[in-house]
């Protein structure tokens, strides 16, 4: 296995590696390293083909702790690398040249915690407004220094005679929401770009620190309003994991059914809006028509249509409503017919093929260095699906079929998503025939989780949704960090988007299936 080889290398570098109980923590190995050794360490991970899932910073008042979560596609045993720096003048070497994807997480940590990353080329504002003069996620009030302000404001590079800056967004029709990209254009070709995120930033992670675990729970559905159940599930499961709660089987099945329905709804919304991006208005209405059926079913189950608050720690809020399973069955039959329509209307269309084939190719190597996940990754020929690699909840009983394409272009991503709808439909078919009887939630729950940290990842509609929770034994999280799949998928665009035509950029951005509130958090 890959991990064993890596462990030998880590020993040679001189890090303390500790094996931790996966069932409680969500990662397998806890690596403690000095900050000077970080680049060397990252190099070792890179050699063994690991990718960075997320970079977390935790403020322990005197010290700041930086965590790097590494995972591998073929050997999904998570490494948590942690290093501690002094809170007064935090500075660590950057690993952006090894993992450019981690470089973007470093930018985020820099503006929220004030950690300086030595050697990082661009540490300007990414999420925050330039008027903010303190580091918002620190536990104490720490003002931004003059020197750091200069670094943070150095965002807009100079244009030259032959090119111009084009402001794409935040109100551009094809950025769906409020994504803003500054494109350096040469005619219609993109030379360079600078994303400006944060128009939808709500400080979800700070909110979590201010609310009790159950009070924060509804917020999870507001992260990704297209497939909110993935985030809710992730949060609920993380807490169940660290408290050691066993959920009744019926609840697990109900969760799975709701999640898969939500996944199909999300892919349908993507399908509609993506074709709208390409200039075809009609499939949009077809897709929304089908999505509406799902929303009706989920409304019957959960009581709401968009931001569900249905899962509970230890089960679900309510048992299945009457006629739910029949409705799901009807939907499955209908959707199977409709998928044929989509194939006829869209898949074979010469213009559609011309616009998507060979456009926005994400090679495997780029996908790994940027941490691309979900359907986008599977379109690049990597069979990595958390539902299969780290089965959780109902997915321990039912295995989904992993859709896989090798090309890595926009068309492959389109096909993967259609295949995922098919796979979800057959999974649903299996699930509704097997829903067991029994209780749908645990009666007794612990008041608060034990001291410690936990990471949990689920497979959302856009990829690996992860949450890292640090608990200090009180009824509020000490620190909560989301790994958002859209963010990882989006940062890869900053590399593959260079040299593209603006029309191709639209076709590629759309195919990545970004949801801005999830990216901004």
């Amino acid at each position: 296995m890959v991990a064993e080889g890596l462990l030998r290398d880590l020993d040679a570098i001189g890090c303390v590696v500790e094996e931790v109980p996966y069932e409680r923590k969500g990662y397998w190995f806890d690596v403690k390293a000095q900050k000077e050794k970080l680049p060397e360490l990252a190099g070792a991970f890179d050699q063994h083909g690991y990718f960075v899932e997320e970079v977390v910073c935790v403020d322990w008042r005197e010290e700041l702790e930086l965590l790097y979560h590494f995972n591998h596609w073929d050997d999904p045993r998570r490494f948590s690398v942690r290093t501690r720096v002094k809170a007064t003048d935090p500075e660590v070497p950057s690993i952006w040249n090894i993992y450019p994807g981690a470089g973007w997480h470093e930018r985020e940590i820099h503006e929220f915690f004030g950690v300086k990353f030595k050697g990082h080329p661009n540490l300007s504002y990414l999420f925050l407004h330039p008027d903010i003069d303190f580091y918002p996620l620190r536990k104490d009030f720490v003002p931004v220094t003059e020197e750091d302000k200069r670094v943070l404001l150095g965002r807009f590079p100079e244009g030259d005679e032959e090119s111009f800056w084009l402001n794409m967004g935040p109100q551009h029709p094809s950025t769906h929401g409020v994504l803003r990209l500054l494109l350096k254009m040469k005619g219609e070709f993109i030379e360079d770009m600078e994303p400006v995120l944060g128009y939808m930033h709500r400080m979800q992670e700070k909110m979590a620190e201010e609310r009790s675990y159950s009070q924060y729970y509804p917020n999870t559905a507001r992260m990704d309003y297209v497939a909110p159940l993935a985030f809710s599930l992730c949060y609920v499961l993380a807490l169940e994991r660290c408290c050691g709660i066993e959920v009744p089987e019926r609840a697990q099945f109900i969760r799975l059914i709701a999640m898969e329905l939500n996944r199909i709804a999300s892919h349908l919304l993507w399908l509609g809006t993506y074709l709208l991006d390409l200039g075809a208005a009609t499939p949009y209405f077809f897709a929304f028509d089908d999505r509406e059926q799902i929303l009706d079913i989920l409304e019957g189950l959960t009581g709401s249509r968009l931001t569900y608050c249905y899962y509970r720690i230890g089960g679900v809020y309510e048992d299945l409503n009457e006629g739910f399973l029949e409705a799901v069955d009807r939907f499955i039959q209908r959707m199977k017919r409709r998928l044929k329509d989509y194939d006829e209307l869209v898949t074979g269309n010469a213009i559609f093929l011309g616009r998507t084939k060979g456009i926005g190719v994400i090679p495997k190597e780029v996908a790994r260095r940027y941490g691309v996940t979900g359907p986008n990754l599977r379109a690049s020929g990597v069979a990595f699906d958390i539902r299969v690699c780290e089965p959780y909840d109902g997915y321990r009983f039912l295995k989904p079929k992993v859709a896989l394409r090798e090309e890595g272009d926009s068309f492959a991503r389109y096909l993967v998503r259609l295949d995922e709808i098919r796979a979800s439909l057959s999974l649903l078919e299996e699930a509704i025939s097997k829903v067991p009887e029994g209780p749908y939630r645990v009666e007794k729950l612990p008041k608060r989780p034990p001291v410690g940290d936990v990471f949990f990842a689920t497979e959302g509609a856009r990829g690996e949704v992860g949450v890292y929770i640090v608990s200090d034994g009180s009824d509020k999280p000490y620190r909560l960090k989301w790994r958002s799949p859209s963010f990882s998928n989006f940062v890869s665009f900053t590399e593959i988007g260079k040299g593209m035509l603006i029309a191709d950029a639209v076709a590629t951005l759309g195919s990545l299936d970004l949801v801005v509130p999830e990216m901004d958090r």
């Binding site: 084009l166 551009h172 029709p173 390409l278 075809a280 208005a281 209405f285 213009i351 639209v506």
Partner: protein
């Protein structure tokens, strides 16, 4: 007056298909009677010994009225038709609230647009920016003058009608570029640039597809071409027909060739900075152009006003709106092509094909 208002109000809120049909019929009859009267008047004046100059003047006035009628009536109708067509293709109903079947929707929209503020950004190039919405209209008016709607309903039968049409319809892209440049907006500039190169790329196959028609009919006058068609040229020149159809879609900037205004790329392209009535002018021009290219297609390839049983103008409008429907059908089923694909398609495929078609036609005619 109040009674009429009341009736209109009732019509507005309680749409009754039967009544609506009656209204439409009444309106059509009214227009026919008016036109007939005008024609009779002209004839009577001629018989009474009015000078040739006087008749000419009268025809000019009536012609101008007719052009205006076609221009606005068609645009209002087409906006409604497009929304209905789109609606039914997308499993919706489309507008239905305002008037019977939502027929008055476009009038309501026009009123709304007139009521809107004319916002003009501070740094625009004033003359270009203000002139463009009007200039885009001019070619439409001129081209409508030479289109034979009926054997007797053609305002001027110019013996070089085709040349006139080609010359003036190219002006549209100049207006579009003026709008794109004058708006001082990067998106509109890109839109204007695209418009120019698209126009150049598609004007050529368009002309090359008309030349065989001229060769077959031996006339440059539109009426002459229609009269020369014993069978519709669609049957003799299918290749030219399809080339013209594709170029026509590109010429009027509609999906899949709507690159100058490509909504998902350039937001609104060249008319991004226009609001209110100025925007409405572009909108109107788009639909008038759509009508014009369809009318020309009808004239060149579908034997224009010729047809059994029905009067000529009825045939003309039926055929034209059929073509319009086909172009709308394109719009609501196809995605948009990319810019380089669009140019490649024209230069590498359409133009050689049109050339070949021309050579073959010439050879066959010579034999």
């Amino acid at each position: 007056m109040r009674l009429w208002l009341k009736r209109l109000y009732r019509l507005y809120f309680q749409s009754d298909p039967f009544k609506a049909g009656l209204c439409l019929l009444a309106a059509l009859t009214g227009v026919s009677i008016l036109l007939g009267l005008a024609w009779l008047l002209g004839k009577a004046l001629w018989d009474l010994g009015i000078s040739a100059w006087g008749v000419d003047f009268l025809r000019l006035v009536l012609g101008a009225l007719w052009v205006l009628l076609v221009l606005f009536g068609n645009a209002l109708l087409l906006v409604w038709v497009e929304r209905k067509v789109a609606g039914h293709m997308q499993w919706r109903i489309g507008p239905k609230e305002v008037g019977p079947f939502g027929l008055l929707q476009s009038i309501a929209d026009a009123v709304k647009l007139m009521g809107k503020e004319l916002v003009s950004p501070r740094y625009v190039d004033k003359p270009l920016y203000l002139l463009a919405p009007f200039l885009i209209f001019m070619p439409c008016v001129v081209v409508l003058l030479v289109i034979p709607f009926d054997p007797h309903l053609q305002i001027r039968d110019i013996n070089v009608g085709i040349v006139l049409i080609l010359a003036f319809s190219s002006l549209t892209s100049i207006a579009v570029f003026m709008a794109g440049w004058g708006s001082v907006n990067k998106y509109s500039l890109l839109g204007g640039m695209r418009s120019i190169s698209q126009q150049i790329a598609y004007e050529i196959p368009m002309v090359l597809s008309i030349v065989p028609v001229v060769m077959l009919s031996g006339s440059l006058s539109l009426k002459g071409i229609v009269e020369a068609q014993k069978v519709p040229y669609l049957l003799l020149q299918p290749v030219a027909f399809f080339i013209y159809l594709i170029s026509a879609v590109a010429e009027v900037n509609r999906t899949p060739f709507d690159l100058p205004e490509a909504e998902s790329e350039l937001v609104a392209g060249y008319h991004i900075e226009y609001s209110g009535m100025r925007f409405a002018m572009f909108f109107l021009a788009e639909y008038t152009n759509l009508f014009i290219v369809s009318a020309l297609l009808t004239t060149f390839f579908l034997a224009g006003y010729k047809g059994p049983w029905l009067p000529g103008w009825a045939w003309f409008f039926i055929k034209t709106y059929l073509v319009v429907f086909v172009i709308m059908w394109f719009r609501w089923t196809f995605p948009r092509v990319r810019f380089d694909q669009l140019l490649n398609f024209s230069w590498k495929f359409l133009i050689p094909l049109a050339m070949l078609n021309l050579v073959v036609t010439g050879g066959v005619l010579k034999l």
